[in-house]
Each structure stands twice: as C-alpha cells, then as structure tokens.
C-alpha cells in the first residue's frame, strides 16, 4: 500500500489543536448511560493529516492528469471556463427558495438550457431535474408508465432491452415495476428484428434503445425498430449516454424516439466520476410533455414594451411529480450552458465528428492486433476482444491492468456482455493524435508482451502504488472501517 491508513499513523495523545481554557461555566456531561468510554479516532497533528490527504490526492487519476478512454463514459476534458462561470456570485450564491423576481438570471439560464436541449435532441419538452443518467432513465420510464396508465391501458407491463444496451437499463425498468425482456442483437450488432417482432404485442410498454449502442454501432434499422414498437402501441426510450456521437448530426426525436435522457456529465463536459455530481435531463415528445416532472422553467408573464418577460416555475398538468429537490443540479446546468455557448451549433457538430474520427483512427491502429467481433465502421467508441486463442491464460482484465503500468486509465472491460473479454474504448474528441498514438503504441506493446511474457500481464500492475487487488475478497468482505478487521466485527 502506497499510503498508510490514518489509524496506522495515529500516536496516542497526539493532537492537532489545543483548545483554550473555557471562559464560560462548564455544563454537566450527559448521563453516564449515554457516554462511551472510548472513541477510536486517530490521534495526529494537523501537519500529518494534511500530508496524508495531500499524498492521497496525488494518487488520484483523473482526466486532468492522464488519458481516460473509459467506454460509454465519455471522459472528455472539462473546460476550466465552466468553473469560472459557475462561480460567478449571481449563480454561486443564489438560493433555490428566493422569490423568482430576484433570480431571473438563473431562471433564464435554465430556460435557455431547456430550449437548447430540446433543439439538440428534437424534443418538445425537457426536465432538468434528474440527478444523473440512470435517474434520467428512471424518470423517463416512469413517464412512459404514466402515459399508458393515463389512457387506461393497464396491461402494458413489458419493456424490451437489447443485449447491447447500457447496463443500467434493466435495473431502471425493474425499479419502475416493469417486466424486462432482453432482445438479442443480430450478427451486425443491430437489434434483431425477428426477435423484436415476436415481442411486439399489447403488453408492450416500450423499448429502451441505446443508439449508438455499447458496441459503438449505430443501429442500421433504427427507424424500423421504432416503427415496430410504435405500431404495437409501445413507446421508445432513448438512452442518450452516447449522444456525443450524434450532436448536430442526428436528432433522436426526429427518428421517433419518445423519451431520452442526456448526460450533462458526459456529452456536455460537466465533471464525471469523483468530480460530479452528474445531471441527467430528460427530453420528451409532444404527447408526453404533460407528464414531465416539475417544476419546469417557463415564461409566466410575457411583459410589454416597458417590462421584460418574467420567468417562473410551472408544474406540468399530469406531472409524475418531483424527482429531485429544487431544480436538479443547478451548478451542472451552468457548466453545460457555458459549454454550449462556447461551442455553438457548428461546434457541437464538430465535436461529434471528431469523436467519431478519433475512435475510428484508434480502431484502425488496433484492429490487426486485437480481434474486432463486430467488424463495422464505429461511432464514438468500439469494442475489441481482449484475448488471443494462442495465449488462453491472458484475459481482458490483465490487459487493462497492464495499461495502468503505461500510465493510462483502462478502458471499460467485460461490457457489453455479448462480447467475451470485452474492452470498450472511447477516445473522445478532446484528445490529440499524439495521445491516441501513445495509447495505441501501449496497446500494441501489451499485445506483444501477452505473447512473449504473459506473466508480466498476469502480475500487472507493477508501477502503481497498489498492485493487483483481490477482487473476490473485495466483493465478499465489505469492511470499510479504518482499523477494523472482519474478525473484530463478528
């Protein structure tokens, strides 16, 4: 371990702060029965605490320190100008319970963001409330359920999820009380139309479509898939986590997708991972606007020549209710708004083009060395197989761990499940050709090592503060308390 735990650094009696003698009368202690004899907190000086946490912070790996090709997570650069705008006092010190007249600037920003997200996706309404992607999914599926119920159509309890969808989709549907049926992909990685046909009946509530899917492929039959679901009376949910490939090129609403969540923390450059929180706005088609969670920002008084329009909060008439306190993660809305202002419509299209170009460049450098199970031009990401028949003991996990020795964050591995030993790589548009080449060189070198010295991969990582962790033990022994072993707890 590179850094000891606080309890191991503790020295009895050491303290960081000396309190002055009290200049007020002491009150009595609570009754003895409420007091503990000991409080096992680490005893350290302030300097030692600062050094401990500073050292830990230096072990962090982030998009600001290195390349992070984590598939389907869109780990793009988070521009620092976003951090400037979100700290403007008018935004930073606004309170969500202030009278709307006093926060018109913040409301205009939210309103404009709603309008732009409608335009980008081709939707009639938007809620900014959901706290992250899967929360957006839950919101969207609850809207689909509410829509069917409002029409008295109570037997629609089935939701179809292709096996190339994001892993959160089945959990979302199950949480919404719907029955999940998995749909197979065909040999080209599209939704299998025959399998879909068999499930298109009057119990169909909807289909959750990730497009491009987790293979990084745009469904070649997407319009037919959507038509079949609509014909059976179902609605189509779009998982917008992969919107980075589509910005300014395809509007999901134009394809017929009824509901879609965006990930502001992927596509629109707000922090992702430990730097969060996330934000998962949901866009809907015209017939679902009344079901959106509220409140939503709208113009509540058009004003006149003398008075500017007044922005306020409105509740859609058949709203499924709130899904988050206040207005969602407002700070993320400011960052995403900034990103949209900085790029403009043309810039957004270039983002998608460069993301797809970068992925295909990287794919072209790796495809002769790593097996590409679905051999097509990819969108913003692609999935390779992390194994070779001639070295059966080397797995995707070993390749991922070895990449850490080359100072790269590993790609997503073992997902999607339809590719054995999957390595899902998403370069994003914010990386230079030099970075992509350095990564490709490392991947090629690792492939060579796998054949000449497989043990090097099996034992990786070698150059990190913590070596190969015991994943079985980590999954089975959930002991997270400092200085407490599994034995002590029993």
């Amino acid at each position: 371990m590179g850094e000891p735990q606080l309890c191991d650094l503790s020295v009895p009696g050491r303290q960081g702060i000396r309190f002055p003698q009290p200049d007020v009368p002491l009150s009595d202690l609570p009754p003895a029965g409420l007091l503990r004899d000991e409080l096992p907190l680490p005893e350290m000086s302030e300097l030692e605490v600062i050094r401990h946490y500073t050292r830990l912070s230096q072990l962090n790996y982030s998009i600001d320190t290195g390349y992070y090709p984590l598939g389907s997570c869109t780990m793009k650069y988070n521009p620092k100008v976003n951090e400037e705008t979100v700290r403007l006092p008018g935004f930073a010190y606004a309170h969500p319970l202030q009278p709307v007249e006093t926060v018109q600037g913040s409301l205009v920003l939210l309103y404009n963001l709603q309008e732009w997200l409608k335009e980008i996706g081709g939707f009639a309404g938007i809620t900014l409330q959901p706290a992250a992607g899967a929360h957006g999914e839950l919101t969207g599926v609850l809207i689909i359920r509410a829509y069917h119920r409002s029409r008295g159509d109570h037997k629609r309890d089935k939701i179809l999820i292709p096996d190339s969808a994001h892993g959160t989709n089945p959990a979302t549907s199950a949480m919404s009380g719907l029955r999940v049926v998995e749909l197979k992909s065909d040999a080209r990685g599209n939704v299998d139309l025959e399998a879909l046909k068999l499930e298109c009946d009057d119990t169909l509530a909807g289909l959750m479509l990730t497009n491009p899917n987790t293979l990084g492929l745009f469904d070649e039959n997407v319009e037919e898939v959507i038509r079949m679901v609509h014909q059976a009376g179902g609605l189509v949910y779009g998982d917008g986590a992969n919107m980075n490939a589509l910005l300014g090129i395809v509007r999901p609403g134009d394809l017929g997708i009824d509901v879609l969540h965006y990930n502001l923390h992927k596509t629109f450059s707000t922090p992702h991972g430990g730097g969060g929180p996330g934000s998962g706005p949901v866009g809907v088609a015209e017939n679902l606007v009344d079901f959106l969670p509220g409140p939503i920002v709208d113009v509540i008084d058009m004003g006149d020549e003398e008075t500017p329009p007044l922005y306020g909060l409105v509740q859609p008439p058949k709203s499924i209710g709130r899904v988050k306190a206040f207005h969602g993660h407002f700070g993320m809305a400011v960052r995403a708004y900034t990103y949209l202002v900085m790029h403009g419509a043309q810039g957004l299209r270039q983002i998608a083009e460069m993301a797809v170009l970068n992925a295909n460049y990287l794919l072209s450098r790796l495809r002769d060395t790593y097996h590409l199970p679905y051999d097509r031009v990819c969108m913003h990401e692609f999935v390779l197989e992390g194994r070779w028949p001639e070295v059966p003991d080397v797995h995707a996990l070993d390749i991922a761990k070895r990449l850490m020795d080359y100072k790269f964050h590993p790609p997503t591995n073992y997902f999607p499940l339809i590719v054995h030993e999957a390595l899902m790589i998403e370069p994003t548009e914010t990386e230079s050709k030099e970075t992509l080449d350095t990564f490709a060189d490392a991947m090629l070198k690792i492939a060579e090592e796998a054949h000449t010295n497989p043990q090097l991969l099996k034992d990786a990582p070698h150059n990190t503060p913590v070596g190969r962790v015991d994943e079985v033990k980590a999954a089975k022994e959930l002991v997270l308390c400092c200085g407490v072993s599994a034995l002590d707890r029993e």
Partner: protein, 130 residues
Amino acid sequence: MSNIPANLKFAESNEWILVEGSTGTVGISDYAQNQLSDIVFAEIVVAEGDEIKQGDTIATIESVKAAADVYSPVSGKIVAINEDLGAAPEVINSSPYEAAWIIKIELSDPAELKPLMDAVAYGAHVESQG
C-alpha cells in the same frame, strides 16, 4: 476445455438439467462458470412449491466480472432449492455439476426437454462461442 457430462441436457443459455424420472435437477454449466470467473454472490429467487414456466429466472449470480440471471430450462413445480448456495457461492466455480445444483423441479411438460442440447451438441455450441 469445458467439462460436459454426457448424462445431462443443456440450454442455449448454459443451464444444465439432469432428469431422473419426472424430476429435473438444474444448475449452470462448467463453461458458464468459467466465463463468469470468480463467483461472489448467488441468490435463488424462487421457493419450494413455486410453479414456474420455462425461461423464468430462478437465480441471480454475480461474479467479479458480471451479474447473470439463471433461467429454468423447463416448466414445472419446484420441489427443492439448494439452501447452501447463498452462503458458499464459490462452489459454482468448483463443483458446477454436483454441489452447486440450484433447484429440483417436477416437470410439467417433458416435451420441453426435446429441443435442449445433449452433451455433444452443447460441446459444439460452446466451441462456437469461442
């Protein structure tokens, strides 16, 4: 190479069934456990006495790599579940065909066994999966 006992029938989704009289014992294949790698959690989601249909989920298994549902290859009434599995899910790795049986089921429609694969066909199926 996967271990594929000759006396079992297999479903495409990698469950095995051992049929004795009108009762079937169900588990997951050696190939399936090997694909999942180290299994850290198993929960049987049906109970003794349940009437289930072919394709219903009978258990959820999690490994360090993935979570997977286990489906019943046949319809019928569950007559026993393996109570020991939850406490020691790792036996699915070490003994997929014996200690790690999941349910015993009274078959309601023996004709459902027909389309299941025998050991030879399953061997070819596994081979094609790579």
